[in-house]
């Protein structure tokens, strides 16, 4: 199983120091990606801006951005994504979100219009990133538009977004279930409120989806003791408790094994949870990185070695963390 962190809110400016700290730790400890999204209160594309900021402070961590797509012209996201992919030397994961009804209303769109615009945007984006110029004629957008008055370009038939992304194919990860064919394969993502019994169905292979990676979002709290975990869980604001992963190391390992058995093999852990202090989040992240994640990264090790390795290292790790040593 692979581990990732997030999503972090791109508009939460007071959490930028936390994001910087967590990104550094996540990279050092072998996490695969860090996820950034705007949050419900925002319609903006600032995940790209914050993603670029994180990209320049990391070298290996993938940068997963979740812009809201479908509210504005898709070429904005196409150009932002290409720039971020180049800035990060090909580390972009593009995981767009469909507009919520609230976000759609801000742009005077009804929810159905916004959803349709989301899917139309996903038709446009892979073609905008492809090596060839392209044209698009859809329900909402025509590219090039040949707007009346733009007489000089009336004969221009195609557009080429330039520069192109560093990656030949930008990975698209979708929490939405694809209800139509897209010009690029997508990785299916199960949201953080997906009950464990629905994970297998949610992540089953579909046309156009890549079944080898099955991603799941979860809120995660890891504490040194069961009692401490229970105390922290009472502080949480806004987490879906039915799907919360919470406990001491052994409890969290057991819960994650359940998710793995249900079909998930890529866990995106939201660990900077509302209600927890920066120190509490950081301790939780250290335990996740050093005591929990190693159990799931050694899938190819013979079982006996894996168990011995864990038993031998777990206590020193916990002791190290308890002393509050700096990373």
């Amino acid at each position: 199983m692979k581990f990732s962190l997030g999503p972090y809110l791109s508009g939460a400016t007071d959490l930028y120091p936390t994001l910087r700290q967590h990104a550094a730790l996540a990279e050092e400890e072998g996490f695969d990606s860090i996820w950034i999204e705007p949050g419900n209160q925002s319609c903006g594309a600032s995940p790209f801006v914050v993603g670029a900021w994180v990209a320049r402070q990391t070298k290996a961590l993938r940068i997963a951005v979740r812009p809201v797509v479908g509210l504005v012209h898709p070429l904005y996201a196409a150009e932002d994504a290409a720039a971020l992919d180049l800035i990060s030397n090909g580390r972009l994961l593009f995981a767009p979100l469909a507009p919520s009804p609230t976000q759609a209303a801000v742009y005077a769109l009804d929810p159905n219009q916004a959803r349709a615009a989301f899917w139309e945007s996903l038709e446009v984006l892979p073609r905008a990133w492809s090596p060839e110029p392209f044209q698009h004629s859809g329900e909402r957008w025509r590219i090039p538009a040949h707007v009346g008055g733009n007489r000089e370009v009336a004969a221009v038939a195609e557009v080429s977004v330039t520069p192109k992304p560093a990656q030949t194919i930008v990975p698209i990860w979708l929490e939405e279930i694809a209800d139509q064919s897209l010009p690029a394969p997508v990785v299916q993502v199960a949201g953080r409120s997906t009950p464990v019994e629905e994970i297998a169905e949610r992540l089953r292979p579909r046309d156009g989806c890549v079944p080898t990676v099955r991603a799941l979002l979860r809120d995660v709290v890891v504490a040194e003791t069961e009692q401490e975990a229970a105390n922290l869980s009472r502080l949480l604001e806004g987490s879906d408790r039915r799907c919360l992963i919470c406990g001491d190391v052994e409890q969290v390992v057991a819960q994650l094994q359940g998710l793995r058995d249900a079909g998930a093999n890529y866990l995106v852990c939201r660990i900077a949870l509302s209600g927890l202090s920066p120190e509490e989040s950081l301790n939780s992240l250290r335990l996740l990185a050093r005591a929990v994640a190693p159990r799931f990264r050694m899938a190819s090790f013979p079982g006996e070695i894996r168990v011995h390795t864990i038993e031998e290292t777990q206590s020193p790790v916990i002791g190290y963390l308890r002393e509050g040593a700096a990373i």
Partner: protein
């Protein structure tokens, strides 16, 4: 007098293609070099759908630049305002301002390439009215904590609140960039600074500066604003190096701007003049002629003239034809060591 590095573009030509990832790496090196050498700021220019790549996602790139610098101001020169969605822009600008610790500066322009407008489904004839509506919306979104309802000619919003607000209150310093009286009249109306374009001579710049001052209200005139100008620039100590700089500038304007882009329109997008070929040749000659290229003593004399006209900030564009970074940084260093001290008062 403040000096900054700008307006940064990819600057690659057909004869000298480079990987865009390398060009972004060079941007970062330019930023660090500019900061180390004591330049005031570095600025990014926006264009779209051109093989040069330019820099079409300014605020995303500025997010990266914020991570690589500590003191250097970072800015847009120019962000093409009528091509953008105001709400998305307001939020992105606020984000960059926070990530940079309040070092963001904003230069807005109207744009002049019809391809860019048309790909985004916008009539270039509407660029002036879209600019005005966007400016009003940005100011409203940054200043108001209450939901905003807006039903305008180009944009409709129901109840957004811009979060976060910019770190600089109420917003980063704004200047309008351009070449024509309408630019400086708009800047004066809003009380913004100005950045005049690189291809006008000193006399033309002085004329626009007069119009700007005449239109600026007493209230706006009391507030600090940049009164700046952009110049293509090269400084070196030998004639061979200077000639190379001139040739590179000619390559850039000849290939990209004159042959590739469609210019010479009024603000409504109407083509100016029937003899475009002659205009294009004249444009290249005038553009290269307007550049400041010389030894430290020569460029100091030319820059002093702009200072005497009343400009207090000059953006120096060192990168226009895929020059190797070492050469650019050598010129930046020569300027910082030999020319900047002559302007320290």
């Amino acid at each position: 007098m403040k000096f900054s590095v700008g307006y940064w573009t990819m600057g690659q030509t057909r004869l000298r293609p480079r990987h865009h990832a390398l060009l972004y790496e060079e941007l970062v090196r330019d930023c660090v070099t500019a900061e180390d050498l004591g330049y005031d700021a570095i600025w990014l220019a926006e264009h779209h759908f051109w093989y040069d790549g330019h820099s079409n996602a300014l605020l995303t790139i500025l997010g990266a630049m914020a991570a690589e610098t500590d003191k250097l101001k970072i800015g847009t020169s120019m962000l093409l305002l009528p091509i953008h969605d105001p709400l998305r822009l307001a939020e992105n600008i606020a984000c960059v301002d926070h990530l940079s610790g309040g070092r963001l500066r904003l230069g807005f322009g109207l744009g002049y390439r019809e391809e860019e407008f048309d790909a985004y489904g916008i009539s270039m004839r509407q660029r002036a009215s879209r600019t005005d509506e966007t400016l009003e919306l940005l100011l409203k979104l940054w200043r108001s904590d209450e939901p905003i309802d807006h039903e305008g000619r180009h944009f409709t919003y129901r109840g957004p609140v811009c979060r976060p607000k910019p770190l600089q209150s109420p917003h980063p310093a704004i200047a309008m960039g351009g070449f024509v009286p309408a630019t400086v009249e708009r800047a004066a109306r809003f009380g913004f600074g100005i950045y005049l374009g690189p291809v006008m001579n000193g006399e033309q710049a002085a004329g626009l500066l007069d119009i700007y001052r005449a239109n600026l209200s007493d209230e706006h005139a009391q507030k600090p604003r940049d009164v700046g100008i952009l110049r293509d620039f090269w400084v070196a100590e030998t004639e061979a190096e200077l000639e190379e700089g001139r040739q590179r500038l000619r390559n850039y304007y000849g290939e990209t701007v004159a042959l590739g882009w469609r210019l010479f329109r009024d603000e409504a997008g109407t083509p100016i003049g029937p003899d475009r070929g002659r205009l294009l040749r004249a444009y290249v000659d005038a553009s290269v002629g307007a550049g400041i290229i010389g030894t430290p003593e020569q460029v100091t004399r030319e820059l002093k003239q702009f200072e005497q006209l009343g400009f207090d900030h000059i953006q120096l564009r060192f990168r226009f034809d895929s020059q190797p970074a070492e050469k650019i940084h050598k010129a930046m260093r020569l300027f910082a060591e030999e020319v900047m001290p002559a302007f320290q008062s």
